[in-house]
Amino acid sequence: MKTAESTTLEPVPVRDENVLRLPLGLLGFERFKRYALLSRPEEAPFLWLQVIDQPNLAFVVVSPTAVAANYEPEISDEDVRFLELRTPEDAMVFNIVTLHGSHHATVNLKGPVLVNRRTLVGKQIVPLNAAALSVCQPISVTA
């Protein structure tokens, strides 16, 4: 729920190893370039990307393997070069989740966020096979 009462995030110690740098921001949020990757065990497999420059703003993200079978985004060589990926295993993949109340959530498979696990530099990319990927695929959740 997006209410004024829920706008305070717990103060979380932001450590260097949790800070992801997205030099191009997220699509529509180009000005936010630094994110803290936060997790709470009870919320797994969901994680949070918290906007460091505006800590009351955050995105829920999830590893695609937890929610989408047979997901295989095709990464262009421009993105491979931008992220300095040597192998697919160099990349952490996060997909942004939209919460629709407590009983319904969707995941964006069309615009995954890839992060080089060595450099912690990331980018929200558009895979070459984006036309076949949903921007709001339902996730099976319980309250």
Partner: protein, 94 residues
């Protein structure tokens, strides 16, 4: 909006660092080749807008309750990616 007429094979230079070239014309479809520095994101407009709207809808203020997955697997294997080599970037627009 600035409107320029170009012939097949001709280009437009933007800001001295971005080149947009008409690569192919086939009926209503125009194939455009774009050369730009890596820090210049290039997107098909409709896909950009779709993801932008999704990001806006996903933004949370504070930390609302996260639902539980109905089928939670204990082990998440690493995501599969396919690294594809294609160059230069070509966007086909109708």
């Amino acid at each position: 909006m600035l409107v320029l007429t170009r012939k097949l094979g001709e280009s437009i230079v933007i800001d001295g660092r971005i080149t947009v070239k008409i690569v192919r014309v086939d009926g209503e479809t125009v194939k455009v080749g774009i050369e730009a520095p890596a820090d210049v994101p290039i997107h098909r407009e409709e896909i950009y807008l779709e993801i932008q709207q999704s990001n806006h809808a996903a933004l949370t203020h504070g930390r609302p309750a996260v639902p539980r997955l109905a089928h939670k697997s204990e082990l998440c294997p690493p995501a599969k990616l396919r690294l594809v080599t294609v160059s230069p970037v070509e966007l086909t627009s109708k």
